[in-house]
């Protein structure tokens, strides 16, 4: 699938730099992707690969000293870069919603749950207090909270993590957004609740035909939920493609390593297949391909030059020697 004028969100060469002008640290480096209506885009990568920063950048939430640049940042037909602060807030508030990692801190502890949901409805849709309350109860019911009539009077500290995340989802869908950004929505929850929350998210996404950007480091989750996948490493996109293709035959060594590190692929072995090393930080970015110190197939060319992203539209890879169907590098 390629981007068109009808695309919900188009991001072209988005970069986010921190640090000084002379010695910038690019937390996000020339990232391009797009989200269609009713589509689930999975963004995967290790901690520190720039997943969250990209989503914050496109919501305009990167503050000084961070610098955001992009060739194109378009939501439907609106260019998000040229908008003034107020118009941008209006658009993002009405049509884009966000769900965060830690449900325990993403609700305001000073207000009741109902109060917070009703506030979101009031700002974007209005209506009398009674209507808003009815809508809030209805939303809580949609996200599967039992006894919503009494729950709307609860304070966040009286809810469990899973319940709080459900409330967050209720708030996020309160104004019928076209695009929902879920930034590791299940990381802070335990496994049984994770499954319920994801199921709920996907159900609502299908019902409301929203575009969903699912940011996560849980590959199994992406394999199941996403239509298309973007794999990020050290602020760059290393591979994109339809979820089924990527998981059947990854082309980038990093994607392959991520999949090998799933517990399922190490069954019967003593240790998990971990990719050695960590994502390079601000001061230890290597020359050439950013993965070269950790890549099992590294060559001299990888250490000297940086590969460009190439491949057919919708299935791109940023590697000199993309892996073939059998998972071996093509030299």
């Amino acid at each position: 699938m390629t981007e068109t004028d009808k695309s919900l969100l188009v991001v072209n060469n988005l970069s986010v730099a921190f640090g000084t002008k002379d010695n910038p640290f690019k937390a996000v480096d020339r990232v391009s992707f797009h989200v269609e209506q009713g589509e689930v885009l999975g963004i995967v990568g290790e901690s520190g690969s720039g997943k969250s920063v990209s989503s914050l950048a496109l919501m305009g939430l990167i503050d000084f000293p961070g610098r955001v640049t992009a060739d194109e940042l378009r939501f439907k037909t609106t260019d998000l870069q040229t908008l003034n602060e107020k118009a941008r807030r209006k658009i993002t508030g009405d049509e884009i919603s966000m769900i965060f990692q830690d449900p325990m801190t993403s609700l305001n502890p000073s207000y009741t749950v109902g109060n917070q949901i009703m506030e979101a409805i009031e700002v974007h849709q209005g209506g009398s207090k009674k209507e808003r309350q009815a809508k809030a109860i209805d939303l809580l019911r949609q996200v599967g909270i039992p006894a919503p009539e009494s729950r709307i009077n609860n304070y966040p500290h009286q809810l469990s993590g899973g319940m709080s995340q459900r409330v967050m989802i209720a708030m996020a869908i309160a104004c019928d957004p076209k695009l929902l950004i879920a930034d590791e929505p299940t990381t802070a929850l335990d496994v049984t609740i994770q499954a319920q929350i994801i199921e709920l998210l996907l159900k609502l996404q299908r019902e409301k035909q929203m575009g969903l950007m699912l940011i996560t480091h849980d590959l199994a989750l992406v394999a199941e939920a996403a239509d298309r996948v973007v794999v990020m490493y050290a602020g760059q996109i290393v591979e994109t493609g339809p979820a089924s293709d990527i998981f059947k035959a990854p082309k980038h060594p990093y994607t392959q390593a991520l999949m090998n590190s799933l517990p399922e692929s190490s069954e019967g072995k003593d240790r998990l297949n971990a990719l050695p090393g960590v994502v390079p930080g601000a001061n230890d970015r290597p020359q050439g391909c950013l993965l070269n110190p950790r890549c099992p197939y590294v060559t001299d060319r990888c250490r000297a030059e940086e590969p460009e992203q190439y491949g057919p539209r919708g299935r791109q890879v940023k590697c000199f020697y993309p892996l073939d169907e059998a998972g071996r590098p093509t030299v």
Binding site: L56, M59, L61, F64, K86, R89, K90, T92, G93, D94, I96, S97, M98, F100, Q101, D102, T105, S106, L107, N108, P109, S110, Y111, A120, V123, H124, G144, I145, P146, A147, S150, R151, N153, N154, Y155, Q158, G162, M163, M168, M171, T192, I193, Q196
Partner: protein, 299 residues
């Protein structure tokens, strides 16, 4: 399924934050006593005209320096005795409560409101604004409080309003620092970002989203600041820079009674005692508030 267990928990009546706070607060005996005393003083101050046996300015020329009613030579008409010009001390103390509490309230409110605004702005916007406000606060903090107040009153001229203004300015940096610190811990939490995503503007973020979560330490500081304000106001009054005679203010009552300290103990003792007890009551209540509002001290 988890659903059923969740349904069961809803049967429990959710405790409002106030109910929870109250249950912690009344466990603290001292705080409760402090609260009762403060309520009593407030009652006296509000109904001073009806409670006080005499007018605070009325001079009974025949009864100068009468000792308290129970002491030898005392008069049942003047329970706590009379001062050097024959005014009833009890009536003056009751009317003085009005003035002292009002002054405390005004000073604390002025410095609290200004402090919250400056602290919110400093913490929220950061950068140059933050540096400017905080260095200003540091300069104020680097001078001894009472000395600074005396200097300001000396410039503006001695009166009760001017000394109130001076003390408000002196207490300001405490509230600024406290607010800014709380704002900095709250501002990066997800709920603030989530409000920004929902389109909240700077003012809404500062006053409606962040401020309620910064209030607990401020309430405690304000209560303790109340007793400080009364004490410093009494000190300024004692130095002749605060309330001017014949206004019945506790500190200036002490000051005018200085000459009788050897001959008529009651003229000095009772204003001193009431200042002591009121300040103690506020401190006890402040401690209780801190225990009840600080989540780290809860079991």
């Amino acid at each position: 399924m988890t659903m059923t267990s969740e349904t069961q928990t809803t049967v429990r009546v959710p405790q409002t934050p106030f109910a929870e706070f109250w249950s912690y607060f009344i466990q603290n005996r001292g705080a409760l006593i402090g609260l009762c005393f403060i309520v009593f003083i407030v009652f006296l101050a509000v109904f001073a005209d009806f409670v006080a046996p005499h007018h605070p300015h009325e001079q009974f020329r025949d009864f100068i320096l009468v000792p308290p009613a129970w002491a030898e030579g005392g008069n049942a008409q003047f329970w706590l005795g009379t001062d050097g010009v024959g005014r009833d001390i009890l009536s003056r103390l009751i009317h003085g409560a009005r003035l002292s509490l009002l002054i405390g309230l005004v000073i604390v409110s002025v410095s609290l409101v200004l402090g919250i605004c400056l602290g919110l702005v400093a913490g929220f916007f950061g950068g140059f604004v933050d540096v400017a406000i905080m260095r200003f606060a540091d300069i104020l903090l680097s001078m001894p409080a009472l000395l600074l107040a005396i200097a300001i009153v000396a410039i503006l001229g001695p009166s009760i309003v001017n000394s109130g203004l001076a003390l408000s300015l002196v207490y300001l940096p405490h509230y600024v620092r406290l607010t800014r610190a709380s704002v900095l811990t709250e501002i990066n939490k997800d709920y603030v970002i989530s409000s920004r995503v929902a389109g909240a503007g700077a003012l809404r973020l500062m006053f409606i989203v962040i401020l309620p979560n910064c209030l607990a330490p401020l309430i405690v500081q304000a209560t303790l600041g109340f007793s400080n304000a009364i004490l410093d106001m009494a000190a300024l009054g004692f130095l002749g820079l605060g309330a001017q005679p014949p206004l019945p203010e506790w500190g200036s009552m002490l000051a005018t009674a200085r000459e009788f300290i050897q001959s008529a103990w009651w003229v000095v003792t009772f204003p001193g005692l009431i200042i002591l007890m009121t300040v103690l009551a506020f401190n006890l209540m402040g401690d209780g508030l801190r225990d009840a509002l600080d989540p780290k001290l809860k079991q």
